[in-house]
């Protein structure tokens, strides 16, 4: 089967978002196919988080389309959807992993409650079932199940991030947005988290859009790469192609700026 016969899970067309006179991101377009992981890299202020927020419905783009292949009705523009429909997508087929776990978790609710929230939001009303699923997911993200009733505020940074991932993936989403998922974690914890993410993405056949400034993260996780600078896309291509043979001047600078140990 060639790619022409497969409907893209997410089609982004000419997305643009400005903050007054300041351009957040402009003329961004790409297709993301089922099972594909797309990396977006760039320096701080290059518009990658703005873009991610536009794609995930947290921000409304000034123009452009974000077409998602919904289960029920096929491809639909999420920008033109009603708010309830978009929220429904956001808690079923989509997931959003924040850079800071405390933005994506309820810190005063137990780990089990955090994982169970999305289930309850889509109508789960059996405590035993919810708890079994929460336990299962804590195991899958390597959190000791004895801590199911502890609050995330008592967890380490790496555990909080893994809990956030469990909380997002429990409803079996098809598309995951990640904003710097390894930011602020030390390298050994990063490595375990990346390992876990890679396993989950492969096992569940997830599609993902990962925003990061860490080239090592995209080399490990992403199939394709998009490089952004000042709100514009300066280069796209297969990850190893872009990283090993960068064409744009900015990408060359970015790749050569990575510290070698």
């Amino acid at each position: 089967m060639t790619q022409d016969e497969v409907t893209p899970l997410l089609s982004v067309r000419n997305v643009q978002k400005s903050y007054g006179a300041i351009v957040g991101c402009t003329k961004v377009g790409f297709d993301l196919y089922p099972g594909e992981v797309m990396g977006i890299v760039g320096e701080s202020g290059s518009g990658k988080t703005t873009l991610l927020n536009c794609l995930s419905g947290h921000l409304t783009p000034d123009q452009g389309q974000v077409i998602f292949d919904t289960r029920a009705d096929g491809p639909r523009d999420t920008v033109a959807m009603s708010e309830p429909e978009r929220r429904m997508l956001a808690r079923t087929d989509w997931a959003f992993v924040h850079q800071h776990a405390r933005d994506g978790l309820r810190m005063n609710v137990s780990a089990g409650g955090n994982v169970g929230e999305r289930l309850m939001a889509v109508g789960a009303r059996h405590y035993g079932d919810i708890r079994d699923k929460a336990t299962d997911w804590l195991e899958r993200v390597e959190i000791d199940t004895a801590r199911i009733d502890d609050r995330p505020s008592t967890f380490s940074g790496g555990m909080q991030q893994r809990l956030q991932i469990a909380r997002n993936l429990v409803t079996g989403p098809r598309l995951v947005f990640m904003d710097e998922p390894t930011g602020g974690l030390d390298v050994s914890v990063q490595a375990r988290l990346l390992d876990l993410l890679r396993g989950l993405v492969r096992d569940m056949g997830l599609s993902a859009v990962i925003v990061t400034h860490d080239l090592a993260v995209v080399r490990l996780l992403a199939d394709r790469l998009m490089v952004m600078k000042d709100g514009n896309v300066v280069e796209t291509g297969l990850t190893d192609q872009v990283l090993d043979d960068p064409q744009a001047a900015y990408t060359q600078l970015l790749v050569s700026s990575v510290l070698q140990v």
Partner: protein, 282 residues
């Protein structure tokens, strides 16, 4: 008495409150914002309930006030006197004789009729408030029926205590639409809310009014494997021997002796007059 307009508030204010009440009745469980007035009592003492009562009372009404079920507590006595003074309405302590009943924390034990109005004093009208502090966000959640969070609270209860430990202000869903705080009444009273009387809820400090028309469907939230349980203390009333009434636990000396008595004083007195005797009745 003539120094005051009837029932203290001016007529324009009463019209404004009545409009909020009508809107509330038209959208059961929806919190209607209203321009709450300063009342001659502190916030938290029932300013919302008093404003609704003022806008609801007519000269022919008979008014009853209960606080935790009792007619003779400070708050109940002061509010009753306030309307005796400013509206010159008849007052009573008998549930069956009252046409407007203002209450804090209880629903009377005797079933109310379609001739009566029950006015609740509400401290915090937003059932989602302790889970989501932003009003902008809770309003959006109500608008979009985004109520998953409410069950997270109940989940937390079970995971911590083994059962749903919320014993008062137990959240209810109105006509399968709005989630509503029944005010801090014990959950024992929740099933009574599907009643013949009109129920009006006033939160003075928070500036919200909401309402339930007669026989509105009120469902207490729960889980399939942890169903709602309108429990009460497992005793009969020590004074009137009632088995079906909500009980207060009263400590009677320094040695830990205690007795359980009806919190609805009118109900208890009526039963004792009818000859029912509890084990500690004098």
């Amino acid at each position: 008495m003539t120094e005051y307009n009837f029932a203290y508030l001016d007529e324009q204010t009463k019209r404004m409150i009545r409009r909020a009440i009508l809107k509330g009745l038209a959208i059961p469980g929806y919190q209607v914002p209203f321009a709450s007035r300063e009342m001659p009592m502190p916030y938290g003492w029932g300013t919302g309930g008093v404003q609704i009562s003022a806008a609801t009372l007519t000269p022919e009404d008979t008014f009853k006030v209960i606080d935790q079920g009792a007619d003779d507590t400070t708050n109940a006595v002061s509010i009753r006197k306030f309307f005796e003074h400013t509206a010159n309405v008849a007052t009573t302590t008998k549930t069956a004789e009252a046409t407007v009943i203002q209450t804090r924390h209880r629903i009377p034990e005797d079933p109310l009729t379609d001739e009566q109005i029950l006015v609740y004093q509400v401290p915090i009208p937003e059932p989602l408030r302790f889970l989501e502090p932003r009003e902008t966000e809770t309003r959006k959640m109500h608008a979009l029926e985004d109520y998953g969070l409410m069950h997270v609270k109940l989940y937390e209860d079970i995971s911590r205590h083994g059962h749903i430990a919320t014993a008062y202000a137990y959240p209810v869903r109105i006509e399968e639409r709005y989630v509503m705080d029944p005010s801090p009444t014990p959950k024992f009273d929740n099933p009574k809310m599907e009643m013949a009387a009109i129920q009006l809820f006033g939160a003075g400090r928070e500036q919200r009014i909401y309402a339930l028309p007669p026989y509105t469907k009120v469902v207490s939230l729960d889980f399939e494997d942890h169903p709602f349980d309108p429990s009460k203390a497992p005793h009969p009333c020590a004074l009137c021997n009632a088995e079906d009434a909500y009980l207060d636990e009263v400590i009677t000396d320094d040695e830990g002796a205690r007795m359980f008595v009806c919190s609805d004083t009118d109900y208890c007195e009526a039963r004792r007059e009818a000859g029912h005797v509890g084990k500690d009745a004098i």
